[in-house]
């Protein structure tokens, strides 16, 4: 059993009592609400005649169904169901005195982008949201967990969830990122190595030199995809990078109070001699840009590496998954993903929809145009991200290159708004899930990758190594090179 880790300390501070079923009643310090998973919970509360226990610990925004085309955000929304969900949310937050970042606020966006950038997510908190990517907030050294609707009801009614304490796996990421390799590649590498269910029963503590070097936006991307590795939560111990990021943000205290808060933040870090249930080391030194080739986020290869044959996997389940993946993606083992035709490129989401993601993509798009027949969407993770990008002229680079520059929302990550794949379109995507049907079409195909790789794919109209856009000295391989080697 783990001891003196951040997870142990934060858990203890938030534990209210042990429940008769053996679970712990855990106080939730920050509850984030969106329109899709909350209306049923508010209805359950109303049915029981219970008020929201801690309205000031709840913050809401709208993301999943949010139209991303400016003219479609006028009310009522053209999609009746979406309008219905949004109005229900507005009614619920008003009735219960909950702060809401709506379209008019200028701060609307994906919950997991909004809360960090406003300084709502802080070290040593427990964060919950009816969305599995709540692990994102662990980047600050908090425990972030995704919950179902009945648990949302619990949080609204009691400020708590009933939870089992998990095991803690420390993941040391050694080495440093090469040019053109990013935080996204770190987490894809981790999921590739440990599997999509490797984290079941665990929370992941990410650490080591490669993690410490990351800025906050990179750390958010890593923690975001903990759930894709099966871990319900993932976190990084707070450090000066964390505190510097927090300083001056809207919901962060200032002056002496900040210093006091910092003492708390320092106190909840994992001790030097903390005990973990498990320690894993992964080296990122020689890792090339990664892409998925299949239909789960663990089916990952380096961009120029051959696609594995099903029988190269030991476990029966991996073999079967590989077979299904090859069929769905229309790929052959031995091919690489280089040159795989792309119809759509999608940049955004709670994984990679932050300013630095657009910045790195803009570097590639500068003086380039996207390939004919590619539909390219840039969807900022929040309106704050959008305005900052626009203030810096980043939007113009995207528009000039041929991208559609949109308003904030979850968009084509799960296609609950109008942004969707059609038929068997292939999407180069900075999102987090390549499940069949995820992007709105059951024949649709998703290739997960970093924002730089998405931008490069947009320009080439196929999966390509983004590093060829950066630095002539960096050794990169093109599809033609691979064919030559194969010949």
């Amino acid at each position: 059993m783990s001891q003196n880790t951040l997870y142990d300390k934060v858990w203890e501070k938030h534990k209210v009592t042990e429940l008769p079923n053996g679970q712990d009643q855990l106080f939730i310090g920050l509850h984030l609400i969106h329109e899709v998973t909350s209306p049923q919970a508010f209805a359950m509360l109303e049915e029981r005649g219970i008020d929201v226990a801690f309205p000031e610990r709840n913050y809401a925004t709208t993301d999943h169904i949010a139209p991303t085309e400016a003219e479609k955000r006028n009310r009522p929304l053209t999609d009746d169901e979406a309008e219905n969900m949004l109005s229900a949310l507005e009614r619920n937050v008003t009735d219960n005195g909950i702060t809401f970042f709506g379209f008019e606020s200028g701060q609307q966006g994906i919950t997991h982008v909004v809360a960090p950038e406003l300084g709502l997510s802080q070290p040593g908190m427990t964060v919950a949201c009816g969305d599995s990517h709540t692990a994102t907030h662990g980047a600050f050294g908090s425990i972030g967990v995704g919950v179902g609707t009945s648990q949302i009801r619990d949080i609204l009614a009691t400020g708590c969830i009933a939870a089992d304490k998990q095991k803690v796996r420390r993941i040391n990421v050694e080495g440093s990122l090469g040019e053109g390799v990013y935080a996204k590649d770190i987490i894809l590498k981790i999921i590739q190595e440990l599997g999509v269910d490797g984290g079941v029963g665990h929370v992941y503590e990410y650490g080591g030199p490669a993690i410490e070097e990351l800025d906050m936006e990179g750390r958010l991307a890593v923690c975001n995809m903990s759930i894709e590795g099966g871990a319900r939560a993932g976190y990084i111990n707070p450090d000066e990078t964390t505190y510097e990021y927090l300083k001056g943000r809207e919901y962060v205290s200032e002056g002496d109070e900040f210093e006091q808060r910092k003492e708390y933040w320092e106190s909840i870090k994992s001790d030097e001699d903390a005990e973990y249930d498990d320690v894993v080391t992964i080296n990122i030194d020689d890792v090339d840009p990664l892409v998925t080739w299949g239909i789960n986020p663990g089916q990952v290869i380096e961009v120029s590496e051959p696609i594995p044959a099903p029988d190269s996997f030991e476990a029966r389940s991996d073999q079967e998954a590989a077979e299904r993946a090859l069929e769905h993606m229309d790929l052959e083992p031995g091919d690489s993903m280089l040159g795989y035709d792309v119809d759509v490129t999608f940049l955004g989401t709670c994984t990679n929809g932050r300013v630095s993601d657009f910045e790195v993509a803009a570097e590639i798009l500068e003086n380039n145009t996207i390939a004919d027949d590619v539909r390219a969407l840039a969807v900022p993770g929040s309106e704050t991200v959008r305005t900052e990008c626009e203030a810096r002229g980043i939007d113009e680079t995207f528009i000039e290159a041929g991208f559609q520059w949109r308003r904030a929302g979850c968009s084509m990550c799960l296609a609950m708004n109008d942004d969707s794949l059609e038929g068997d379109e292939v999407c180069a995507s900075s999102s987090n899930r390549n499940f069949i049907g995820r992007q709105g079409s059951k024949e649709g195909r998703t290739v997960l990758m970093s924002p730089a790789m998405v931008a490069a794919a947009a320009v080439e109209g196929e999966v390509t190594d983004a590093r060829r856009f950066f630095d002539d000295d960096v050794q990169t391989v093109s599809a033609t090179d691979v064919e030559e080697v194969a010949d």
């Binding site: 501070k13 209210v16 229900a88 648990q151």
Partner: protein, 200 residues
């Protein structure tokens, strides 16, 4: 309500839903979540997988084993998003209990919230049961929550039900709101001790 809700046994005919890592996007595609209640969710259960290219029902097990109460699944079932819409849809379709090789955590928690026992068993036991259902679509399967078993024909599968789920179901305390609401004053104390929670 919870105090009437001791769930010790569930049973009925079975439906095998084979495959590892069956994610919630397959169980309940996101485009059907745009409703403010769970009422119609059964209609959308495995919506895409159950239909052919013309939108007609195909031979998906859910189409062949209508009326079943026990779903039998493989590894890491319910992975992906946290949407309770997935188990809600299964429950409203008729599923009262699930037997599987393993479950994703949020999915299992959601099952607990809904009072649906989720029993894990070995790959061999699960696949044997799936085959048996194919051959015996009218055969009864019973999950005994306390004993952590699934019984069919002359076979008893000794599996595992997560302790918290078992306690909750057997003691009828799976309604966690009710359970935790009585501790509200303790919650206030815990909150007051946290440096980031302002005085209320």
């Amino acid at each position: 309500m919870a105090d009437e809700a001791h769930i010790t046994e569930v049973g009925g005919t079975g439906v095998p839903i084979p495959g590892d890592d069956v994610d919630t996007d397959q169980i309940l595609p996101a485009r059907f979540m745009k409703e403010v209640t769970f009422d119609n969710m059964a209609d959308y259960l495995f919506y895409d997988a159950r239909r052919d290219e013309n939108g007609e029902f195909n031979d998906h097990p859910l189409n062949r084993f209508e009326g079943a109460s026990i779903a039998v699944v493989n590894q890491n079932f319910g992975c992906g998003s946290s949407r309770e819409h997935a188990p809600q849809a299964m429950m409203r379709w008729g599923v009262d209990g699930v037997v599987g090789e393993s479950f994703a955590e949020i999915f299992r928690d959601n099952c607990k919230s809904l009072g649906i026992p989720a029993l894990t068993a070995s790959h061999e036991d699960v696949t044997a049961l799936q085959e048996w259902i194919e051959a015996n679509p009218d055969g009864d399967i019973e999950i005994d929550v306390e004993e952590e078993t699934a019984t069919y024909d002359d076979t008893v599968i000794h599996g595992n039900i997560d302790d918290a789920m078992k306690e909750a179901l057997v003691d009828g305390i799976w309604d966690t709101t009710q359970l935790m609401y009585s501790n509200l004053s303790k919650v206030e104390e815990t909150a007051a001790d946290l440096p980031y929670v302002e005085e209320v």
